[in-house]
Subunit: 335 residues, 2 copies
DNA sequence: AACCTATCGTAAAATGATTTCCCTCGCCCG
DNA sequence: CGGGCGAGGGAAATCATTTTACGATAGGTT
């Protein structure tokens, strides 16, 4: 393994000069810089980043905690993060927590042991391991994305789920729908709560507060969508609008509707949320709410990096705009 | 930050003893071990992994190079890798290369700079950066998964794409199909070549060698599937079997078929490949070839770890079994 | 000629953990 | 009782790089 010493010997300069040309190029004259760079070229020298990180206490890596890597929504957010990291020269370490608090804590150890310089969490939960260092007068860089948390003192990026679900419900009501079934996320998850509130507000503002929707709690997966659709159809098939809190659940539900002989959108209109790529290719194509997934990732990363470079950020709350995408899965109900 | 020195001071032992109780507990008596552990507990000491890695020249992390994180096939493989890594105590660093050789090389630098102890590549390409250290008498731990490479001297995990595509083509031929359109992957990608060979072999063995299929080259994405379906339908709509080299392309194609007024499977049977979750929820549900995705990841990781622990592996080639999943998208053609 | 400034060298400290080498102490056996 | 042995634990070297504090030198300026 060639070290900085080898380079210095070949270039005929001191170790300090080699280090300077790499870390503070402006401190060394152009002439010697060239000599050193040529020597580096020749030897194929690669600085030992472990030694460097160890010395500087900076790992040049960030950690992204993902509840579920196989979820298309998250993988797009990650792409956004990775793009910005790329530009900034940071490395991205991904941890798939599977929603498991235990695993989440384990991964968070990376922050304590100086293996990463910052953490982006793609779900609402702040790992206990990080509490001490994040909630601090000199906080460890930490950004929360995807979920929107008002009541916590660290930066949060997300969309206005309440307004978005309001809008999409409003769309169905405008078309003439009155009775709804709702396939939600899990209780306690902010996006779930917010979207449910948006739905209810739309109902109340349209004087439909008395129409009690049938609600089934899913988990954002295809299977749970199919399963919930089955449940609500058995419980009370009189609804004409089926509102799902994720595209995957909506696509799962579409299949169940077909099994039950219900046509979409003629018999039942269906809406999703997220606008993953498959939404456009569902049968029928899904009316949904597009989230700026990549942008969420980009913004989260930018804020994190700013924080890491010392810009005081604390408690920034950013809401990015969503966009309703109307496709063939919704239309006025048969009268 | 509390260091090992602090702990040693509080425990009243030397720093060597503290290190030993953590790394080689059997080398220290139970009595002092307890004292040290209590001191660690008290101080909330977390070993600085950077220092540790630096000293031991082991980072306890592996790098996984992924062509496209948003591809459901890959994300499942990654899950498998991560599971095994979890058990073994290794950390997984993910690099989304986007198929870009440049980015691939950049990420590979992690291996040279000792930031990772091993690399798993989920596509066929061996980054140039790694060539020197992988193709070596004492090779850097490296495993290739997903693609199956015979002619390279490092471990490779994959499925028998040729046989799998043979089987699925055979299935269609048995049902009575004679004329096919094929939506492939990109030329030069091994899975593409293998699957295409499997298709041709099935044709020839069934004396259909003269039936020239219409072929369109896709890129495994939904959009390319839809686009290719359009092309082949325009070129020659007389085929009754549409063979796609990925589920995503098949799902994209299904929509185009509908646009063209073609019914699946009555008019045209469609097959995919991979058996991603969405395949079951396509309309109609997709006949496809299930790949043992998670298992591929697990096996790849296990082999890599074995390699990292010094077991001589060199040139292991593993083929895992696939399973044909017959669903509603294929049936005998109308006569 | 005196003074400055930019540039680079030298030497050394510092980073935190691991590991080698060696010492000590207690115990056992002859 | 002496010698040997083995286990436990301390001191110090080590890892590669960065950075600091100076000193030296060359070249230019006044």
């Amino acid at each position: 393994m060639t070290t900085i010493k080898d380079v210095s010997r070949i270039a005929g300069v001191s170790i300090a000069t080699v280090s300077r040309t790499l870390r503070n190029p402006e401190k060394v004259s152009e002439k010697t810089r060239e000599i050193v760079l040529k020597a580096i070229e020749e030897t194929g020298y690669q600085p030992n980043m472990l030694a460097s990180s160890f010395r500087t206490k900076k790992s040049n890596a960030i950690l992204v905690l993902v509840p579920n890597m196989a979820n298309l929504f998250y993988s797009r957010v990650i792409r956004g993060i990775q793009q910005v990291a790329e530009e900034t020269g940071y490395n991205v370490l991904l941890g798939d927590t599977g929603g498991d608090v235990e695993i989440e804590n384990r991964y968070s150890g990376f922050a304590l042991t100086k293996q990463v310089d910052g953490v982006i969490q793609l779900s609402k939960h702040l790992p206990k391991t990080l509490e001490k260092i994040v909630l601090n007068e000199n906080p460890f860089p930490y950004v929360n994305a995807c979920e929107y948390l008002d009541d916590r003192p660290f930066p949060t990026i997300g969309v206005d789920n309440e307004a978005a679900q309001y809008q999409i419900t409003e769309h169905l009501i405008q078309q003439g729908h009155r009775k709804f079934a709702v396939i939600t996320g899990a209780n306690g998850v902010p996006v779930h709560d917010d979207r449910l509130r948006g739905f209810h507000r739309a109902m109340i503002q349209n004087r439909l507060g008395d129409e009690k929707p049938i609600i089934c709690e899913g988990d954002f997966s295809l299977d749970s969508g199919a399963e919930c659709a089955r449940k609500v159809l058995i419980q009370d098939p009189s609804f004409t609008g089926l509102i799902c809190f994720s595209d995957e659940m909506a696509i799962g539900a579409l299949q169940t509707l077909k099994e039950f002989g219900k046509k979409t959108p003629e018999d039942i209109s269906v809406t999703g949320f997220d606008d993953i790529e498959f939404a456009r290719y569902a049968d029928p194509p899904l009316t949904t709410m597009r989230q700026p997934t990549t942008e969420i990732g980009e913004v989260a990363a930018k804020i994190l990096f700013a924080q890491m470079e010392g810009t005081p950020i604390e408690n920034t709350k950013i809401r990015l705009p969503t966009e309703m995408i109307i496709r063939a899965s919704t239309q006025a109900p048969a009268t």
